[in-house]
Symmetry: C2
DNA sequence: CGGCATCCACATGGATACTG
DNA sequence: CAGTATCCATGTGGATGCCG
């Protein structure tokens, strides 16, 4: 059940800054943190449900993003039904471990970015 | 002395995902988190000192990155001497407030990304 | 429903060379 | 020392349309 043992392979292993740049590269794509956040909040979701939950992403970009997240072992894709074709995306353990990072990012954003109305 | 009162203007204000995407866009650029980390760790640094501290970035990219960080009010640029021309880059209060985010990113990276040798 | 195919525009990073 | 000027390859996102 645990797909955690091995660490993610990265091109910069050995460099002191690798942990930071790699994490930035993974979470720095426009929708990645939002996707992870939605899956953390709502649990497993189908493609279109996730698309609506994210709200603002196109099919193509969501598809690309999910593929990238899958390749990084953060998201799990599961076909739950063939007849009415249904898929579910959920976080792996590694994906869930991003919670503190996502939370920190969102907290910072809420604290320092402009809001529509102040009050 | 406080340049914190106003929040950063962003193109996505009002969107629920704005805090996350904007933060991702700011910290997601390859060297941004490393630059902020170095300034957090070492304090104010000159251009070349910072370039060496980051280790791996080109002048052009460092220059671009610093400009971007300045525009976001995270980094402060100060000319400390004209004759022997010297400049110092340091974090603003807003920049320092990124500490928890950078720390979370680095902690996650160290925990989940491959290292040169295992033992 | 859950995508993929295409095409396009622009952002980003890197190499190299040069300057005040 | 502290950058800027070019040039270029690739990455990334977005729009639109189509398919099983």
């Amino acid at each position: 059940m645990s797909q955690q043992p091995e660490r993610l392979e990265v091109w910069c292993a050995g460099e002191e800054w690798c942990a930071l740049t790699s994490t930035a590269t993974i979470l720095g794509r426009k929708w990645h943190p939002v996707i992870v956040h939605r899956l953390l909040r709502d649990g497993a979701l189908g493609f279109n449900a996730l698309k609506e939950a994210v709200d603002g992403v196109s099919s193509k970009v969501l598809s690309d993003s999910l593929e990238d997240l899958e390749e990084h072992g953060l998201v799990n894709r599961e076909v739950v039904s063939e007849k009415p074709f249904r898929v579910q995306y959920s976080l792996t353990e590694r994906g869930e471990s991003l919670d503190p990072v996502i939370s920190a990012m969102q907290a910072w954003g809420k604290e320092h970015l402009a809001e529509p109305r102040d009050a």
